[in-house]
């Protein structure tokens, strides 16, 4: 068994070997995206579509570049990112708190269980008119929309994660002198962390999606709002630029989240498995 241990260590240390394994995967992943973009470019220039229907990818990139140079891109990006991350942060804190309460107290479970059962599957976008009515069309209402959508996976993951904690683990901790208060922070939550992280990995893209949708529907600054503005001015390139920006932002967020997961769960058997892109 010592052998297995050593190889695990060696795998972490030898970067060239790791890169050699990942690189083909990386190229394969890039290839499909590159092929899609190339097809876009060719199709747009073929004359089948007007530039209004489908502007070439190169024109879209140029547009993004110009927006970046002018500063508009960064304002919109920062606003969308701020709203999505603020919503996500609220989901993490409130979702884990509610999930924990539901797992530990019958009263909390009795109270929240029906709300979660009804709220999780329903299309929360239906609340949009009410949220606008109550909270206006600025940051607060957009963040609220994202929170009421993205909080449910966090609650559910926390409840499932805590339920799955083995009683032997808790007994061990109590045996070693852990108090009830120690248990939650030192044993229950760390043991449930893999499940909770999975919930967070669902919640983060959801927060971004709903933020962008809310921006599109409410207008104003932000990637979604800018797209709708471009659409109103019949600026097709601007709309496609928005799509590309949102896709890139979503990818970056999901990627960052999985890096955080790997860091936090370095102890988990999954961390020793060969990584993919």
């Amino acid at each position: 068994m010592a052998v297995r241990h050593v190889t695990t260590r060696a795998r972490i240390k030898t970067w060239p070997a790791k890169a050699a394994r990942i690189l083909p995967l990386l190229l394969a992943r890039c290839f499909s995206v590159a092929a899609l973009l190339a097809a876009w470019e060719i199709l747009a220039r073929s004359g089948i579509f007007t530039p209004f229907q489908l502007p070439p990818f190169s024109a879209v990139v140029l547009r993004i570049w110009n927006d970046g140079a002018a500063g508009d891109l960064w304002i919109n990006l920062a606003l969308t990112l701020y709203r999505a991350l603020a919503a996500f942060a609220i989901c993490v804190l409130a979702g884990v708190a509610v999930g924990t309460a539901m797992s530990r107290s019958g009263l909390a479970r009795w109270f929240f269980d029906p709300i979660v059962s009804v709220g999780f599957p329903m299309p929360k976008i239906a609340f949009l008119p009410v949220v606008i009515l109550w909270l206006g069309v600025y940051d607060l209402s957009k963040i609220t929309m994202a929170v009421i959508d993205a909080i449910f996976p966090v609650i559910a993951a926390t409840v499932i994660g805590i339920q799955g904690v083995e009683r032997e683990l808790i007994w061990s901790a109590r045996n070693m002198g852990a108090s009830e208060r120690d248990l939650l922070r030192q044993v229950v939550l760390p043991a449930a962390l893999p499940q909770i992280m999975t919930g967070l990995q669902v919640a983060l893209p959801l927060a971004l999606i709903v933020t962008v949708v809310a921006e599109m529907l409410m207008g104003g600054y932000g990637l979604g709002g800018a797209m709708m503005t471009a659409s109103r001015f019949a600026n097709s390139t601007g709309v496609f630029a928005g799509i590309v920006e949102i896709a890139a932002l979503g990818y970056a967020l999901v990627k960052a989240m999985s890096l955080i997961r790997r860091r936090l769960l370095a102890w988990h058997p999954e961390a020793h498995a060969p990584s993919t892109v």
Partner: protein
């Protein structure tokens, strides 16, 4: 027995109540005395309640009928005087070998330098030198169980409760761990209650073997197994083979009863 009982079980019964389905009488009027520094094995067919009995002594389950006293005090909850080792190790997977062993010492409020040294001592004792910073997921089953044993021994409980600690290990590792456990107890003597369904293991390790009946669990017989076990080929010695044979017959009867009941 001459020595006063350290652990005293009197008419302990336990009803298992599943969330769904009917209640099951897991333990029926179990009485047992264990002397200081004695090694008692609880042996019986699976489902006879031997683990439940251990959890009751550990204070993890409430004693609802009868009484359990340790050093004259009634058991009302878990305590560091009774350390437990589980079959599936129950290590904290997010802590390293060292972190796992340190946890109990931290909870006990031991000063940092002292607990670091103590943890290292016990890592050496169970032969895990070089694996201090490994996570449980990086260890083999035998190494995980060594870690669990070190973790429990480190906070120095007077009593050690072991719940089929080698049940999840392959036969070879189990043999090594048994010999190692004997070696460790010679250095740090403990009162031990050891749950197993392996007759050889029970005879090899224990001073007395309590054979339990099929459900509802009762103590059917207690067999004295205290004899010199230092011989090179102890498993082939006549006295050893005879003891194993004697106990094996007792357990077999119960296992057949348990099987019969399950199939009806």
């Amino acid at each position: 027995m001459a020595a006063p009982a350290q652990i005293l079980l009197e008419n302990v019964s336990h009803v298992y109540r599943p969330v769904r389905g009917r209640e099951v009488l897991a333990l029926d009027q179990v009485s047992l005395q264990v002397a200081n520094r004695e090694f008692v094995a609880l042996l019986g067919p699976s489902g006879c309640g031997k683990s439940t009995l251990l959890y009751l002594i550990g204070g993890f389950l409430p004693v609802e009928a009868g009484s359990i006293t340790v050093d004259g005090k009634k058991v009302t909850g878990p305590g560091p005087d009774r350390g437990i080792v589980f079959q599936h190790f129950a290590l904290f997977p997010w802590k390293t070998v060292r972190g796992n062993i340190l946890y109990g010492l931290e909870r006990q409020g031991m000063p940092k330098a002292e607990r670091e040294k103590r943890a290292q001592d016990f890592i050496e004792l169970v032969g895990l030198h070089g694996f201090e910073d490994s996570y449980p997921s990086q260890l083999s089953g035998g190494m995980k169980q060594r870690t669990a044993i070190a973790r429990t021994l480190a906070f120095d409980p007077a009593i050690l409760l072991m719940d089929e600690p080698f049940g999840a290990l392959d036969a070879q590792t189990r043999g090594l761990m048994q010999a190692e456990l004997m070696r460790i107890f010679q250095r740090t003597p403990k009162t031990v209650i050891f749950v197993t369904h392996d007759v050889q293991e029970a005879v090899y390790l224990a001073d007395r073997v309590a054979v339990m009946s099929a459900r509802p669990g009762r103590i059917k017989t207690i067999v004295d197994t205290k004899f010199d076990k230092k011989a090179e080929n102890i498993f082939k010695e006549r006295v050893f083979v005879e003891k194993v044979d004697e106990i094996w017959h007792l357990v077999r009867e119960e296992a057949i009863k348990a099987q019969g009941r399950r199939s009806t």
